[in-house]
């Protein structure tokens, strides 16, 4: 229970409760004061108005009017009397002039003794006004009913506050408990996930509120972490496989060499072993390179570079290889296409694409390299009419170490496209595969600015 009281949800509920009560009380108080003021004001105005109107009547007219008023209009006038200049009552229902100023203004008398009674007193207001003949006219109204009405209003308001207070606290406590229960559930789930149950997810309701939104974000984060975990596992499996194979071969070859009595045979085994170690080193170097591009500090060498010039240079570099394989290689470059980037990295990425295209294109095939500017975006395309990529393999070719079924026969680290994709990403470029029907088309293009 103490923990419950200490929870932030409960504290918020209490604060809201207190604020509600203060606000309600203030509103009630204001309503009461307004009612009271309006009632009193109307009473005073009526009396003062009557007195002003009646002051010029003759004595007889006044007497008649008083009688009419006192007998027929009880609601507005309770007391009416005319006193002679010496203070003696001439007619009316009051014997004695109450202690009020004779100025035609209404005055409050807290305890006015009711005429014809010994000691009954009431609150009342009076207007006393001297007439031209020296006599004094007195009009009055009892405030007994008004006061009773005020008390009723006050009592009603006060009794309304108590349930209000209780209700507020109850609602606050209800929501606090519910919120804390949800937070506890989230806390427990996270604790379980941290213990290793990575498949659990935080509860999210159909109509999400703030907590659900955060829960959903956390769930998305967990999905991403899972994805990365799976990927890391896949990568380390691949690394293990790609390194284990040449190492095992090396081991076998050296053993065989040592067992043979001929030193020539040992030499041959050692030479073969070196070849396999070179392969392992190629893989390690490519892995380190990939890590460097992906996670290393962003290259400080970003400057204005011309993609057309870079591709033309690479074209010149690769063309002899194409010629030696009887592949028709073409270059389409119209004008300089300038970007901010690291020329060495872009060269590396494009050389991976061109190298791949040449690798997978048979004799008499075609490889095209083009650099264009489309909708203000730089686009490099490397396409061939070679064996292409099977539909099932298309989303896997950018994964580390992935080699297509046919690609396994071709030497390489299997990291070239991963490195190219990482370099593209570093430059806010996308690297996409498209079917060239037949063959492969790799498109490296600047991302649209959102």
């Amino acid at each position: 229970m103490l923990e419950f009281l200490r929870s932030s949800a409960v504290r918020v509920a209490l604060a809201v409760g207190v604020a509600t009560i203060v606000a309600t009380t203030a509103i009630f108080g204001l309503v009461y004061l307004q009612i009271r003021a309006a009632d009193e004001k109307s009473n005073r105005l009526i009396l003062e108005d009557e007195a002003a109107k009646s002051v010029n009547h003759t004595v007889d007219e006044l007497r008649y009017a008083f009688e009419i008023r006192l007998t027929h209009d009880l609601r507005r006038l309770d007391y009416a009397a005319l006193f002679a200049a010496d203070g003696k009552v001439m007619f009316g229902n009051i014997d004695e002039l109450p202690p009020v100023a004779l100025d035609g203004k209404s005055h409050f008398v807290a305890a006015f003794r009711v005429p014809g009674s010994e000691n009954r007193v009431q609150p009342a207001i009076f207007v006393a006004r001297p007439r031209p003949d020296g006599s004094i006219m007195l009009l009055g109204r009892s405030l007994l009913e008004t006061f009773a009405f005020r008390r009723t209003v006050l009592t009603a308001l006060a009794t309304g506050l108590a349930p209000m207070l209780l209700l507020t606290l109850a609602i606050g406590a209800f929501f606090a408990r519910r919120a804390s229960r949800r937070l506890t559930a989230i806390h427990d789930t996270i604790a379980q996930i941290m213990k290793g149950d990575m498949h659990l997810r935080l509860p999210v309701r159909a109509t999400p509120d703030a907590i659900d939104t955060i829960s959903r974000d956390v769930n998305l984060m967990l999905d991403e972490i899972m994805r990365l975990l799976v990927q890391i596992k896949g990568v380390s499996d691949n690394i293990a496989h790609d390194l284990r194979t040449p190492l095992a071969v090396v081991h076998a070859q050296l053993e065989r060499g040592l067992e043979s009595p001929e030193s020539d045979e040992l030499r041959g085994a050692a030479r073969q072993a070196l070849g396999h170690i070179d392969k392992a080193m190629l893989t390690v170097a490519a892995l380190l390179r990939l890590a460097d591009v992906e996670y290393g500090p962003k290259s400080s060498k970003f400057q204005t570079i011309d993609l057309s010039a870079i591709c033309a240079d690479l074209f010149e570099f690769f063309e002899p290889l194409a010629t030696s394989k009887s592949i028709n290689m073409t270059l389409e470059v119209r004008s300089p296409v300038q970007i901010q980037g690291d020329g060495d990295l872009i060269r590396e990425a494009v050389s991976n694409l061109i190298g791949n295209a040449l690798k997978f294109t048979p004799e008499n095939g075609t490889v095209r390299v083009s650099v264009t500017q489309e909708d203000g975006r730089p686009v490099i395309r490397v396409s061939d009419n070679g064996i292409g990529v099977e539909p099932a393999e298309r989303d896997k070719i950018f994964q580390r170490f992935y080699r297509t079924a046919s690609g396994h026969r071709v030497p390489g680290s299997g990291l070239g496209l991963s490195i190219a994709a990482a370099i593209a990403n570093l430059h806010d470029f996308d690297l996409r595969f498209e079917d060239n029907r037949p063959g492969a088309l790799f498109e490296m293009s600047g991302r649209r600015r959102p």
Partner: protein
């Protein structure tokens, strides 16, 4: 252009804190006829200052310390010893930093011993003949001013890149040249290639410079390492 013998009496100082690797490098270079001493950064710097070092091979990080700082100091003192920086840090930025600090060449781990040996040879035999206007090996002559190549009286037409490639070989006759060295120095490509493009370029060059019907090429293959311009041809 025979082997420079005076340098052989001097020692290559090797700064490398991985003992196994240091030992392998030492054995390999000794096998090639060099004298090698494994040294600390300070020892190597002192030897270089008094002219006792044929060249320095420095690991970038030695016992957690950046040896490039010492190299920078040496260069400020105008010590001209050739320096090969080796490092596990392979990014292009790191390479540029190594060369800026005064390294003459930069090699990233892991590397093949043949690669290291080729680079050491190239640095040891680097000649201060930048002002040379003609390079010659056997019958082949390159005029750097006229930008022409002749074999005897026959003029050989080369594409600009082929010219550069041949120039590189002519400047390093009798030395092992690796594919990585050619990529870096002729094409300025600082990445490894998984294709044999360089071999194709070399074979195209051979077709142009070798006399018709010659029994062997002027540029020979060195198994497991690269190529060499045969200066005895």
């Amino acid at each position: 252009m025979t082997k420079v013998t005076s340098i052989a009496r001097q020692t290559i100082l090797l700064v490398e804190d991985e003992k196994d690797l240091a030992n392998e490098i030492k054995l390999e270079l000794e096998r090639l006829g060099h004298r090698v001493r494994v040294a600390s950064v300070a020892e190597a710097a002192d030897a270089a200052r008094v002219g006792d070092a044929a060249m320095l091979i420095m690991d970038r990080m030695v016992h957690g310390e950046d040896s490039l700082k010492t190299l920078e100091v040496l260069r400020k003192e105008r010590v001209k010893v050739p320096v090969l920086v080796i490092s596990a840090l392979g990014s292009i930025d790191e390479r540029v930093r190594g060369l800026k600090a005064g390294g003459d060449d930069y090699l990233t781990k892991p590397f093949a011993m043949a690669e290291l040996a080729a680079r050491v040879e190239a640095l040891m035999r680097r000649l201060d003949d930048v002002r040379t206007t003609k390079l010659r090996v056997g019958e082949l002559e390159m005029d750097l001013i006229e930008h022409t190549v002749h074999r005897g009286d026959t003029r050989i037409d080369l594409l600009p890149r082929e010219f550069k490639l041949l120039e590189y070989f002519l400047r390093h006759p009798g030395q092992v040249i690796t594919r990585a060295m050619l990529l870096e120095d002729v094409w300025q490509y600082h990445f490894s290639l998984e294709t044999n493009v360089v071999d194709v370029h070399i074979s195209n060059l051979r077709k142009k410079i070798d006399p018709r019907g010659a029994p062997s090429s002027l540029i020979v293959n060195i198994r497991g390492a690269g190529f060499m311009l045969d200066d005895d041809a």
